[in-house]
């Protein structure tokens, strides 16, 4: 014990040594009586404290302290809380200490209201402190829950919080912690789950289900002609949370017969009719605006409008502040994308100038908005989407439109197609001409893709076309006016042969 103590005094980040001590304590606990253990633990706490004084951000120390507190017979939580106060005074952004504080308050049942007061105090002394804003965002919904949504806070409190955070960013608009808290206040609520679209295949008998929000496990009820089926849903996306789920039907569909397939999850139900002589059927709900609004969208419209107005004021006072402008963009999107479309666009342009290090981010954001607008305005049951000529720099939201057969992304500024197209199960025609595409790795495994137009792009490497090998239905590939055509004279013949 003494040896480890000396070592840890010299370097408190040595976690093996802490573990060694933990084992020793566990062993001693079986040998010694309560009083002896108490004094040992007390000494240990003091020792940890001395280590922390030297290295207040040592993971090992804080963790070991938790261990000691949990193994003490009568831990003095009150004192620990004071310790946290003290260390937060030294460094109010020490997240280790914030973590430990949460640990202490959880174990000693400190009322959340009291802890909110603590954050009040710390924020009042210095609001550039995301740790305390964050702690607040965890506490508030527990003390002032929104009756309809447990993760949000009631409106009265929300307005108060908005005022507080407004004070912060008006005082210093360059402080990002306030802006992030502002975003939390306005958005990121729990959206209601529903099924966006269904794709039914006669052979092999299978169903694809597209969900509004990605889930880790999908257990929707599937019924064919009102008979509930036992199915195993598998995710068809590589992410941990998936929008798209796929299942095989054991019994299959009878040949030449009409079937009605419906899927149900939570309160949403979607049915799809597979006609007698069709191999495949799709159905999709129209995608509305709500679907795309994630940040700054949960609060009431009136609240958002108020925020928009005050941000506009701030923008007048402080022209060219990126945080103000970005928040304005987000708010305008949330309030009325159509009405503000021009302003959003000019503001994003300005942002690319002001904050040139994040130029791509703003361009991608604009692309995202353009695609969203387009999806909302398109009748998806026609299974065609045209997003050409919009200066797009990225493609997104493909996971929400798995029923598309035709996709036109031509005449944009795309530099690559790396987002996976594989979930566009039905996609047959892809027009991607007149872009600056160099990489097409996203075009792997697109099951029904028949025709790709990649004319007038920047593909210079033959190997890029290897990806297309995996598209088994591919019949037509056009790659005129690509650098690759000039350098590899023999290429077209050899390559097309492969497909035949």
């Amino acid at each position: 014990m003494e040896i480890t103590k000396l070592l840890l005094a010299a370097n408190s980040d040595y976690s093996s040594m802490w573990n060694y001590r933990k084992n020793a304590f566990l062993h001693l606990k079986t040998l010694k009586n309560e009083d002896e253990m108490k004094s040992m633990f007390d000494n240990e706490l003091q020792f940890i404290e001395s280590c922390l004084r030297n290295n207040p951000k040592s993971y090992g120390c804080w963790h070991h302290r938790c261990f000691v507190m949990l193994h003490m017979m009568k831990p003095n939580w009150e004192r620990e809380l004071q310790l946290c106060d003290l260390f937060l005074q030294f460094d109010e952004r020490n997240f280790h200490c914030w973590d430990y504080r949460r640990f202490v308050t959880n174990h000693s049942n400190v009322p959340h209201e009291k802890e909110i007061e603590v954050t009040n105090k710390i924020i009042a002394s210095n609001f550039s402190n995301y740790s305390s804003w964050h702690y607040r965002s965890k506490l508030l919904p527990q003390v002032y829950p929104d009756p309809t949504d447990s993760k949000r806070i009631e409106e009265k409190k929300l307005l108060e919080e908005l005022e507080l955070v407004q004070n912060a960013f008006f005082t210093d608009p360059n402080d990002q912690s306030a802006w992030f808290y502002h975003r939390w206040l306005l958005g990121r609520g729990d959206k209601e789950q529903y099924i966006v679209s269904l794709i039914v295949n006669r052979s092999p008998p299978s169903v694809f289900c597209c969900l509004r929000k990605p889930v880790k496990m999908f257990n929707g009820t599937l019924s064919v002609d009102d008979t509930t089926q036992t199915v195993d849903w598998t995710s068809s996306m590589s992410e941990r949370y998936s929008h798209l789920w796929f299942c095989k039907l054991e019994d299959g569909f009878k040949k030449g017969q009409q079937h009605t397939v419906s899927c149900e999850v939570e309160s949403s139900k979607l049915s799809c009719c597979l006609e007698e002589n069709c191999q495949k059927a799709t159905v999709c709900l129209p995608i509305n605006r709500e679907m795309f609004q994630d940040h700054t969208s949960q609060a009431k419209l009136s609240v958002l409008e108020d925020e928009l107005n005050s941000c506009n004021e701030l923008n007048d006072l402080e022209p060219g502040n990126k945080w103000v402008m970005l928040t304005l963009v987000l708010l305008m999107r949330a309030v009325s994308p159509k009405q503000h479309s021009e302003k959003i666009s000019t503001m994003l342009d300005a942002l690319t100038e002001i904050d040139s290090q994040r130029k791509r981010y703003y361009l991608d954001l604009r692309s995202k908005y353009a695609i969203e607008d387009c999806i909302v305005e398109t009748n998806l049951n026609e299974n065609r989407l045209n997003i050409s000529g919009m200066k797009l720099t990225q493609i997104c939201h493909l996971e929400l439109v798995p029923t598309l057969t035709h996709l036109n992304i031509s005449h944009n500024c795309l530099q690559n197609l790396t987002v996976p197209f594989a979930n566009l199960f039905c996609l047959e025609v892809l027009e991607a001409n007149d872009n600056k595409i160099t990489n097409i790795s996203g075009l792997k495994d697109v099951p029904n893709l028949k025709s790709i137009n990649l004319d007038s792009n920047d593909i210079s490497d033959v190997k890029q076309f290897e990806y297309l090998k995996t598209c088994r239905c591919l019949e037509k590939l056009s790659i005129r006016s690509n650098p690759v055509c000039e350098s590899e004279k023999q290429f077209p013949t050899t390559f097309l042969l492969h497909f035949q």
């Binding site: 000396l6 005094a9 003091q46 001395s50 004084r53 002394s125 004070n167 008006f170 210093d172």
Partner: protein, 701 residues
């Protein structure tokens, strides 16, 4: 009678004010022989802090000290080639001094009988003829009024006692005690031990929330009333000097935790948002104002880098500059009066400089630009005097110079003749303004009007105790008034009281203005307090006195501090005159003067190098060696500020912790203990061997 002093010193200083004390410390520190004398029986001169009794006495005396002077003929001590220049010891430091205690029963304590007659200071004086009616009315209204104020707590006991308190009797008692008091005044000014009949004492104790006269004066020791209340800029010259010289170890400080002001057209105080945190949490300015305010403050903090922002205003008023920044009127007032603290007629450059100075000090020690010395400003000269004494300076109170001896040929001052008839030679002589020979005086230069109040609560209620700096912008004929309020946590008054200082620069030779300092502060009292200090409350004043949110004046005193004019050009070349405290808010001028005088006298020596801590002083055979232990000195970084700064900051924090949350006191000490434990580990000499043995055992180090 008294022990004779050595015959000769390098430096003699007369007066223990701050400048002299700093110099005394500085000269002793570099090994000069120093004699430091003061006619008073206390340290600090014009900078002193007093307990209530001593303060009463001081005010009563008008600052004139009766020195127990030996009868002798000073001229007889002077040789042929020398000239004797007498110094009159009867300089009046303060004028128009008065004291009023509003506490129950014996409300009257008077300064000097002369003052009483001139100003009619003691209000309830039923014996006086013309004021008889108003006076006795007051007497009756006071006991009834005050229980009303404390009425919100209808305590059965209290009510009972109130009921059983016949007013007639009270008046009678009043008359009796006042009569006695007046009698006292006639005999001899006597402020302590007011004569209370024993029976009355019991009655007084049972009454209301206000303390009785007795209770108040029983705690006389716990007051520290400053003659020259000032605050220290956290990055001002004084703080730097304290750190540099290590004199800070004798002192403790508190943050001036808030700045308040009165906006024109309003009658309540409000906090001035100075720092980023203040601006953020201020509820008095709109978010838009916050933004503009922050922008302007940020600009001022680094104005030199943005000449384009202020160039066109360089020769114009600061106010115009602020106006051009779209600041609201409120915010303009905040900056002008409370942050820059300049006049409305100040130029932009002056304003920017002052603002920058303020902002630089902001945040060094907590969320504030100023520090306030615990136990009052009087601690500061004493701390430097202590340094001087530690380094061998000779101190002698209750002694002054009856005259100076000048060498007729060189015109230099070669010696002083002290009040004990001793001729003491010196190479340099430094005196404060009140010890300058009459022949070097010009007509009276200026004075500072002062008011001191003891109140029952803070001027602006808050959940914790503050040290407040309050600036009341000029209004009409009234000039700008500076107010400093401190509470028991600063050890300037007992608990449940607050001590309020008010300063007003009084223009000399302005006859048509009110001269009586008490009159000058009337308006200020209306703003800050409920009712007036004296009992002559105008009839409409009743509404105000019921305003329970404002503090009541329990005790007050008024006086003018004189600043003597000295024709410095005519002085002998080795006679230096240190200026008094004046109106300056901080200490920069004083410190600048001290350093300048030091450099004139000892141009090649270092001004107050770091003094070693006691444990660093190594004793050897020849007495003690003041050379500090070398290793320790090298430890502190080149500029010295960094390391000391941290030490200081910790000191401050401990003081604060202790009072903010009583539970934390133990905690702080405990941490220190554990730190000591840790230091023991670090000192372990065989650590390397331990590593080695661990490696042998197969541990990876």
């Amino acid at each position: 009678m008294e022990e004779p002093l050595p015959e000769e010193f390098d430096i003699i200083l007369i007066g223990t004010g701050l400048t002299e004390s700093v110099l005394s410390g500085a000269f002793s520190r570099i090994g000069k022989s120093v004699l430091h004398i003061d006619q008073n029986k206390f340290y600090g001169g014009n900078w002193a802090s007093f307990n209530i009794k001593d303060f009463d006495e001081f005010i009563a005396s008008g600052g004139i000290v009766e020195i127990n002077r030996k009868e002798f003929d000073p001229v007889a001590l002077v040789t042929e080639d020398e000239t004797f220049i007498p110094v009159s010891s009867q300089r009046q430091l303060i004028k128009e001094g008065s004291l009023i205690c509003n506490l129950r029963k014996n409300k009257v304590t008077t300064a000097s009988p002369k003052d009483v007659e001139q100003n009619q200071v003691p209000s309830p004086k039923p014996t006086s003829d013309n004021d008889d009616t108003t006076g006795s009315q007051e007497d009756q209204s006071l006991p009834t009024k005050i229980p009303d104020n404390s009425a919100p707590k209808p305590n059965a006991e209290t009510i009972e006692t109130n009921e059983s308190l016949p007013i007639a009797e009270v008046t009678e008692d009043d008359n009796k005690s006042c009569g006695e008091n007046v009698g006292d005044n006639d005999a001899e000014t006597k402020t302590e031990e007011p004569p209370f009949p024993v029976a009355m004492k019991d009655e007084v104790k049972q009454t209301y929330k206000f303390p009785s006269f007795d209770e108040f004066y029983d705690q006389w020791r716990r007051f520290n009333v400053d003659l020259a209340p000032k605050v220290m800029f956290s990055r001002g010259k004084l703080v730097e000097l304290l750190i540099q010289s290590n004199v800070s170890r004798y002192l403790e400080f508190r943050n001036v935790s808030r700045t308040l002001t009165l906006l024109s057209g309003q009658d309540y105080l409000q906090p001035v948002p100075c720092s980023r945190a203040d601006v953020f949490s201020s509820k008095f300015v709109t978010v838009i104002e916050k933004r503009i305010l922050m922008r302007v403050l940020t600009l001022c903090a680094n104005y030199e880098a943005h000449p384009e922002e202020y160039e066109e205003f360089e020769d114009r008023l600061f106010l115009e500059f602020l106006c051009s920044k779209r600041l609201s009127e409120k915010a303009q007032q905040f900056i002008l009066h409370s942050i820059a603290m300049v006049k409305e007629t100040s130029t932009t450059i002056e304003g920017l400089k002052a603002t920058k100075k303020f902002l630089q000090s902001l945040g060094r020690y907590g969320n504030s630009a100023f520090l306030w010395p615990m136990y009052g400003v009087g601690e500061l000269p004493q701390a430097f005097s202590r340094l001087s004494a530690v380094f061998g300076g000779t101190f002698c109170l209750r002694r002054n110079a009856v005259g100076l001896v000048l060498n007729t040929e060189s015109g230099k001052c070669t010696a002083i003749i002290d009040s004990q008839g001793q001729k003491i030679k010196c190479k340099h002589l430094i005196v404060d303004e009140s010890n300058v020979p009459d022949s070097y005086r010009c007509e009276f230069a200026s004075s500072v009007s002062r008011a001191v109040y003891v109140t029952d609560k803070s001027v602006l209620a808050s959940d914790k105790e503050h040290v407040s700096l309050i600036t009341l912008p000029p209004d009409g004929s009234r000039g700008s008034v500076r107010v400093i309020e401190a509470g028991p946590q600063c050890c300037v008054c007992p608990s449940k009281y607050h001590l309020v200082h008010a300063l007003l620069s009084s223009a000399p030779n302005n006859d048509n203005q009110v001269c009586n300092p008490r009159e000058k502060f009337k308006e200020v009292e209306q703003i800050l307090f409920a009712g007036h200090a004296d009992a002559e409350v105008p009839q409409g004043g009743d509404a105000e006195s019921t305003d329970d949110a404002k503090p009541h004046i329990l005790w007050s005193s008024y006086f003018d501090m004189m600043e003597d004019g000295v024709t410095r050009d005519a002085l002998p070349s080795n006679l230096y005159v240190a200026r008094g405290p004046g109106m300056e808010l901080g200490f920069d001028k004083t410190m600048g003067e001290a350093r300048e005088l030091f450099e004139r006298i000892c141009p090649d020596d270092e001004f107050l190098p770091r003094a070693p801590d006691p444990e660093e002083i190594v004793f050897d055979d020849e007495g003690y060696n003041t050379e500090s232990n070398g290793a320790r000195v090298e430890e502190s970084p080149e500029d010295g500020a960094g390391a000391d700064y941290v030490d200081d900051a910790e000191d401050l924090r401990e003081v604060e912790d202790g009072d903010d949350a009583p539970g934390q006191v133990d905690h702080v000490t405990r941490i220190d203990q554990s730190q000591n434990v840790f230091i023991d580990f670090a000192k372990f000499k065989n650590l390397n061997e331990f590593y080695k043995s661990c490696q042998d055992d197969g541990f990876d180090c």
